[in-house]
């Protein structure tokens, strides 16, 4: 599944959203995946529980999180959701906090997650100028332009 096409066609995007803490930030992304019929609501609980026991292992770089849980935690189909925050939140990782861009992932198999979904997310964000443009985008049209430039 192509990340960019998916984001643009499912409209699983929320920009400059408000979240008081990391859990609310994760919730915003999961809500988009629930609305897209990609995950069951319990996917949120799984991400929170895993984060509390393992720490936020999915922080890719400063400012950037990629929350996800295992396929068996309520994934119905592959999906991506993009959330940017009006004000960044701390996930408890000095190397990467504060976080204000989240790509929430759902994948129907660990192999798809590791070898396709995550590689696509990392490729999208391994460009500081692009990350800055995504961070500053105020509406879907701007996001479409940024993603369309790739």
């Amino acid at each position: 599944m192509n990340l960019i096409e998916h984001l643009l066609t499912t409209d699983a995007i929320r920009l400059k959203a408000k979240a008081d803490d990391w859990k609310e930030a994760v919730r915003l992304g999961v809500d988009l995946l629930v609305a897209a019929d990609s995950v069951e609501p319990r996917y949120f609980d799984a991400i929170i529980a895993m984060t509390e026991s393992l720490g936020p292992w999915y922080l890719l770089a400063p400012g950037l999180a990629m929350p996800h849980a295992r396929p068996e935690e309520g994934v119905k189909k592959d999906g991506f959701a993009l959330v940017t925050l009006d004000r960044p939140v701390a996930f408890g990782s000095p190397d990467n906090d504060p976080i204000d861009i989240l790509i929430t992932l759902a994948a129907t198999s660990a192999k798809t997650m590791n070898e396709e979904s995550i590689v696509q997310v990392a490729t999208l964000f391994d460009d500081e100028e692009r990350v800055a443009r995504i961070r500053n985008a105020r509406n879907h049209a701007e996001i479409e332009r940024i993603l369309g430039d790739i």
Binding site: L60, A61, A110, I118
Partner: protein
Amino acid sequence: MYAQEVEIVNPTGLHTRPGNAFVKKAKEFTSTINVIKGEKRANAKSLLTLMKVGCSMGDHVTIEAVGPDEVDAVDGLVAFVATLKD
């Protein structure tokens, strides 16, 4: 410069949780460390670049370091990869 090849033996590869643990281990060393798979290179201290390369079970990768603790860094990370179970 010092380098060693290692085979990824754990089912999850250097993805997500094991990848994050690998990056944390790499940050214990001061040397510049790269993970090389074929034509692709990742900074071992950046989960983002490591995820972009995508190291899966069965892949052979080269861990290469340049710096004052390059031998310890490479040997330490090769040993670390061999202990991954997840």
